[in-house]
């Protein structure tokens, strides 16, 4: 499946004077690939540039060996699920897929076959006649993934697909992506570390258009090894800890709290080292830019 690779070399993109991507280099192989970063890190710009929705200013991108400038050919082999997916509300689920299938140049027989396969795959077969406007958020996202897979693309680009989904839908959606990724390249953009940790073999972390990290999730965790600690503190001590360290999680238990925090440069006065999770490692990675801040996440 080496032809499913995406190669990005020295990619730069500007919006006026603002540089959204700065000389990015990245290789994406088949399977699930996670793209992490804060809001405004450049994830959507990168995804849209690969999906031919934005024109790059500098550098090169090839998708399965095809330069991204050849938009017509690229569109044949990519499927795209944008943020806040929506479709014409007055169409039914199957009408929406059929319409998009026509735009993908599929024959009537192809559309018929693929739509029934996909509706079963995304568990929407019972809702095929339902209007798009009456679908729940989770159902709409499943329709979104079905439309992106309609023409059986080699590369699937999904932009923050689990935002707004309840936990059950989120897990179901992640599993669906993993299933799809067995035979394709799936680029999953998100700022939910748990989604990436649960699904992606390889990840990249972007910050202000630059690549902070590229590699496996375990590689990311290894980077943070020895820098993550946990301690039990009183509520009075908590502000001091927050001021001194980057906190990745806080668990309140009555008057005391258990905190996980980063201390990359020195052994802290309190706490004991723990094995970093992906979320700790992600915050660790961002904190190295000097803008890590605290993650006030109550467990």
């Amino acid at each position: 499946m080496s032809e499913s690779n995406i190669q990005i070399r020295n990619l730069s993109k500007f919006y006026g004077k603002k540089q959204a991507l700065c000389g990015l280099n990245l290789d994406i192989t088949s399977g699930m690939f996670g793209l992490l970063g804060r809001n405004g890190a450049g994830k959507t710009t990168l995804m849209k540039t690969i999906a031919t929705l934005l024109r790059k200013q500098e550098g090169d991108i090839t998708v399965c060996g095809i330069p991204v400038e050849n938009a017509q050919e690229i569109r044949k082999i990519i499927g795209y699920l944008p943020q806040d997916f929506n479709m014409y509300g007055n169409m039914t689920v199957s009408q929406a897929l059929d319409y998009l299938g026509v735009l993908s140049g599929m024959s009537k027989a192809e559309r018929h076959d693929r739509i029934s396969i996909l509706l079963k795959q995304v568990n929407l077969i019972k809702h095929a006649g339902k209007k798009v406007r009456s679908l729940s958020g989770g159902m709409k996202q499943r329709l979104g993934i079905a439309q992106a897979l309609l023409h059986d693309p080699q590369v699937l680009i999904v932009d923050e697909p689990t935002a707004g989904l309840d936990p059950e839908e989120r897990v179901r959606f992640r599993n669906l992506l993993c299933e799809v990724a067995e035979h394709k390249t799936v680029i999953l953009s998100t700022h939910i570390v748990g989604d990436v940790e649960a699904t992606c073999g390889e990840i990249a972390i972007l910050d202000e258009g630059r690549l902070l990290f590229g590699g496996s999730v375990s590689g990311l965790c290894d980077m943070a090894e020895g820098s993550v600690y946990t301690a039990e503190v009183t509520q009075n001590e908590l502000p001091k800890i927050r001021a001194a360290y980057t906190i990745t999680a806080t668990l309140s238990q009555g008057k005391n709290s258990t905190v996980r925090f980063l201390s990359p440069d020195r052994k802290p006065m309190i706490g004991k080292p723990v094995t970093p999770g992906a979320e700790d490692a992600y915050i660790f990675c961002l904190s190295k830019t000097g803008k890590g801040g605290n993650l006030h996440d109550t467990i």
């Binding site: 929705l53 007055n90 998009l100």
Partner: protein, 431 residues
């Protein structure tokens, strides 16, 4: 073809199309062309009137045209249609003096020698210009009023009947040139504007016979139908076009943009679907009207295809243009601005007609040609070459707008117009 069918179905199922279709049919009904309120009958001798027609009679045209020019000269406000659209012309001092010389040459009154020689306006005391018994008094805004005596404003004009037709035509050419062309004083339109004479029984009979032989009766009805349908098709098709394009909201477009279909096929399918939809009520009415006329005149006496010929030749270009305006400006701006654009074009076109243009004939890029009568086949045949040119021009305009739409759509697919004055807010959200 599949996309065309799907787009057509989307349009036909929309509320806005339903309202547009009802509007088109109601308009035809209220104007008395669906069903037709009149039938064509053979003129009978001894009738009180058989209507009027344009003539080339110099004795009629010269005084009428000269007086009209004088009235416009007095107010220093002339109406002209240099590019097919109405233009109010105000002459500067130098041209006003030249026009004054033309007026003087047309008048049997004698303008004072000072003006004739120098072109200067002596004051009225030095500012008043003597014309026969009256005087030409300049106003503060540069216009003039004619003072017959101290108080009475002169409304009449004494045309110099000694002027020859050739001399008159030469003066009118000068006047038309001063006005930038396209005025009522151009040779082409003077007979229609100022040479109207009563139609005689023999002429009415000849027109009837032409209507029977050339139009097979239904042609005349189809022209009147086209006249009214042009007015409504010059406006309403923009609405379904705008609403269809606006239904591609921000979070839908990116999915459409990344499909393999070419921008040309997508826009053309959409354009043709919209066009088919707006023409559908018209074509249904054409079929019904053909049936009504077959019952009235007898199937053997009518041309059963003539309504459809007029639908495609006369009405379709108008519908194409208003649909294309809707498609282009909505694709470009993602706003309903096209409605305002089309309203302006429609208003200028319908309210901007003068004289003969108001009810008959066509200007070069007129959206809505007029033939507001049942019959007058010869008049139609007279302006038919202009009409053909006009319809080709309007069709090309529509094709040009659709081509621009394809370019704009294609550019947006590649993010080229993503960062624009209309989408500045999306720059940040795209990062």
């Amino acid at each position: 073809m599949t996309l065309y069918r799907k787009e057509l179905l989307r349009v036909l199922k929309s509320t806005i199309f339903f309202l547009a279709a009802v509007g088109i049919i109601l308009f035809a009904n209220t104007q008395g062309v669906f069903p037709p309120h009149s039938t064509i009958t053979k003129p009978l001798p001894g009738a009180e009137s058989y209507g009027t027609k344009a003539s080339d009679n110099p004795d009629l045209i010269m005084p009428e045209a000269a007086e009209s020019l004088f009235v416009q000269y007095s107010a220093n406000q002339y109406i002209a249609y240099p590019n097919g659209f109405i233009k109010y012309v105000r002459l500067n001092q130098s041209d006003r003096e030249k026009m004054g010389e033309i007026i003087a040459a047309l008048s049997e009154d004698v303008i004072s020698e000072d003006v004739q020689e120098s072109g200067d306006i002596p004051a009225a005391n030095d500012k008043t210009l003597q014309i026969g018994e009256g005087s030409l008094q300049p106003n503060d805004d540069g216009s003039f009023q004619i003072i017959k005596s101290e108080e009475e404003i002169l409304t009449g004009f004494h045309f110099n009947t000694a002027i020859t037709w050739e001399h008159f035509l030469a003066l009118m050419v000068q006047a038309d040139d001063l006005l930038g062309g396209g005025s009522d004083f151009s040779e082409k339109w003077m007979s229609h504007r100022f040479g109207q004479i009563p139609v005689t029984y023999d002429e009415a009979l000849a027109d009837y016979e032409l209507t029977v032989s050339y139009d097979k009766l239904t042609g005349a009805h189809a022209r009147l139908f086209s006249d009214y349908m042009g007015i409504i098709l010059g406006l309403l098709p923009v609405f379904p076009a705008v609403f269809l394009c606006l239904s591609d909201r921000k979070n839908i477009t990116s999915m459409l943009y990344t499909r393999r279909i070419s921008s040309t096929r997508f826009i053309l399918a959409r354009f043709l679907a919209l066009l088919t939809a707006v023409m559908l009520p018209v074509l249904i009415m054409c079929a019904v009207l053909t049936g009504i006329h077959a019952a009235d005149y007898g199937l053997g006496n009518i041309d059963i295809l003539v309504y459809f010929k007029y639908a495609f030749f006369w009405m379709l270009p108008t519908a194409m243009a208003s649909t294309a305006v809707g498609l282009f400006f909505t694709t470009l701006t993602n706003t309903p601005a096209a409605i305002a654009v089309q309203l302006v074009w429609w208003f200028v076109d319908t309210a901007g007609g003068s004289g003969v243009y108001s009810f008959f004939g066509v200007r070069p890029l007129q959206l809505i040609p007029r033939h507001n009568t049942l019959g007058e086949t010869q008049t139609f045949l007279d302006y038919l070459p202009d009409l053909i040119q006009n319809r080709i021009g309007i069709t090309l305009t529509a094709v040009l707008l659709v081509t621009f739409t394809i370019f704009v759509y294609n550019a947006k697919r590649r993010g080229l117009l993503y960062v624009s004055v209309f989408k500045r807010d999306k720059v940040q959200s795209a990062v």
